[in-house]
Amino acid sequence: MSTGRLLLEKRLVVSCGAGGVGKTTVSAALALAAARAGRRVLVVTIDPSRRLAETLGVDRGPPEPVLLPPDRLLALGVTPPGSLSAWMLDPQRVSDNVVRSFSKTPADAARLLDNPIYRNVSAMVAGMQEYTAVEALHGFLQDDHYDLVILDTPPSRDALRFLDAPQRVGGFLDRRIFGLFVPGEGGVIRRAATALIGRVMDAAFGEETRQDLQQFLALFGTLLGNLNRNQAEVQAFLKTPQVGFMLVTGPAREALDEAFHFAERSRALGLPVAGYVLNRSLATRAHLPLPEAPAGASEALRTAVAHLLPMAEAEKATAWTHAALGERLRERGTTWVLPQLPRGASDLEALLQLAHVLAPST
């Protein structure tokens, strides 16, 4: 599939990859390319650099997705009906919205929002970030403001967790487990287990914290039906052809290993892999000349060029290695190769250049 078709036909693109490969920038560039092709795109980032967050207008942690202003969109070559919005995941906010919309009564919602365990839950429950990302995704996929959602995930060791976070967090939120902690339910064996956990908790925490925890679990438990239904819907949707997983990698061995590991896992889980993005490749530079001091150059310049020459030769070799690497990736699946951009390019220029490579304007 060409990126053109990918960006025109998918409802959701998930980018995954090791830390430091430029995944967030690639996600933003994909979003921009799709918006330039006339789609209404939302890019959801998890941990963007401050500079990229500023470029996307989400540096102040906005509550809702932010539509890039018309003048900026125009500068980026996005014209109606195309549009580009961005949002930075805020687990606590997503979670608060869930509490407000799914609690049985407003009083229950208020008690839960006020519970000290709940107030720290996103910092404390491993996987809560991913769980809320899925919940937010559920909302955005229902929202007819967007034709395409692009989701940037945490670095890939964690991205795998993103895929099973619903099971893991769901496991904790599973009534069969935390129900053990809420007294007065079930038969003899269950009560015995509950009593044991209660004694252990009192010994470890003290009574006050145990009560907070019990209140939290009892109230949060009432939200579970709705929450888990949303999670299951998104998980099922992730396996449909409307979704594409992009495996972003750099030329370094570790990043490639992560991408291959991820591809394997995705296939085993039945997730549609759209292809690889090889970022920061020097391949397009392979045919450049080596530097040569001009006739009549100063002594200093001639020395400098002489010092530069071995660096240039190494760079040439790297460029050819990257070219070969691109070919090897193509044997494994659809591959898009993005160039290493010149230092000092602003994020806006960088996004434009990458968007051009991903979907050349016709």
Binding site: G19, D47, M124, L196, A204, L213, L288, L301, R343
Partner: protein, 295 residues
């Protein structure tokens, strides 16, 4: 070696900066000085082989400290070990302890309940810090930025929730180690580039906010700079707008100079060590050369 003064080093830094390799090199360099070193990682064996263990030719680091090389021991922090240790130390009476340790329901609950996983990791760390005979040096490879703050900030979060009781006491004890500037510090591994340096500066602010002492910065993969001042000026003019091989390397060099200078200006009192770029494939071949630099 600017590392030897404190017993506990946390190594942290964003993904892709080579933190794990630097951590392994530091551990080896410390062991070569004749100290008994414990190298720790936080890793979930379900997530595939551990990058740190791979540097020592293993799939995973074991839970029990195990010799990796002479004087260098490795172990993985593992929440259930911390849970068990805590229960043994704090539950009243042997009957309750053995009932608790036998209970599958409790085990499931501990794995799943909020923050118990992190608490378990933290308590396991505390057990190793207090183990006899004491380790001369404990070096912890901290996973990506957000988690590092989560773990160093954990005692504070938990103490807000649980101000009293045995867990609170254990958290305070752990916090006392981590926040004692004579015992523990955090080193930030970063690349000599603009954005990573900005992120390193933000990370240090975050660490200090949790009460950690920042020991210093390790600027990894510093490109070799063969040019004197005059040559730099001449070459800058020559390279402007020229599409040749060497352009990327030159750009990196300029960027590295600016980034390192900015870091030195902002953190004037902090040790900033640079580690050279060493071409090595595969990655574990890097540990040796970096170890020599750190020694």
């Amino acid at each position: 070696m600017p590392f030897s003064s404190r017993r506990i080093h946390l190594l942290t830094g964003k993904g892709g900066v080579g933190r794990t390799t630097v951590t392994a090199a530091l551990a080896r360099a410390t062991a070569h000085q004749g100290r008994r070193v414990l190298l720790l990682e936080i890793g979930d064996p379900d997530e595939g082989a551990s990058p740190l263990a791979r540097l020592f030719g293993r799939e995973h680091l074991p839970i029990e400290p195990t010799a990796l090389e002479p004087g260098l021991f490795g172990a993985r922090l593992w929440a259930p070990v911390g849970h068990e240790g805590f229960l043994k130390a704090h539950l009243p009476g042997g009957a309750l302890i053995s009932a608790a340790l036998r209970s599958k329901a409790l085990a499931r609950f501990l794995v799943a309940a909020p923050s118990f996983h992190e608490m378990g990791l933290f308590y396991h760390l505390l057990m190793l810090l207090e183990a006899k005979p004491a380790w001369d040096q404990v070096i912890l490879d901290m996973p990506a930025t957000g988690h590092a703050l989560a773990l160093t900030g954990l005692p504070e979060v938990l103490l807000r929730l649980i101000p009293r009781g045995p867990i609170a006491k254990a958290m305070r004890r752990g916090q006392a180690y981590m926040n004692d500037p004579t015992q523990a510090d955090a080193w930030v591994v970063a690349l000599p580039e603009q954005l990573p340096v900005t992120e390193a500066i933000e990370l240090m602010a975050g660490l200090r906010a949790t009460g950690m002492t920042v020991g210093g910065v390790l600027l990894n993969r510093m490109p070799a700079d063969p040019f004197n001042a005059t040559e730099q000026v001449e070459l800058a003019g020559f390279m402007a707008g020229r599409a040749v091989h060497g352009e990327v390397a030159w750009g990196r060099l300029v960027d590295a100079r600016i980034a390192a200078a900015r870091l030195r200006a902002e953190e004037a009192d902090l040790p900033i060590l640079t580690l050279p770029e060493v071409p090595a494939e595969p990655d574990h071949a890097l540990v040796g050369p970096l170890c020599e630099v750190l020694a």
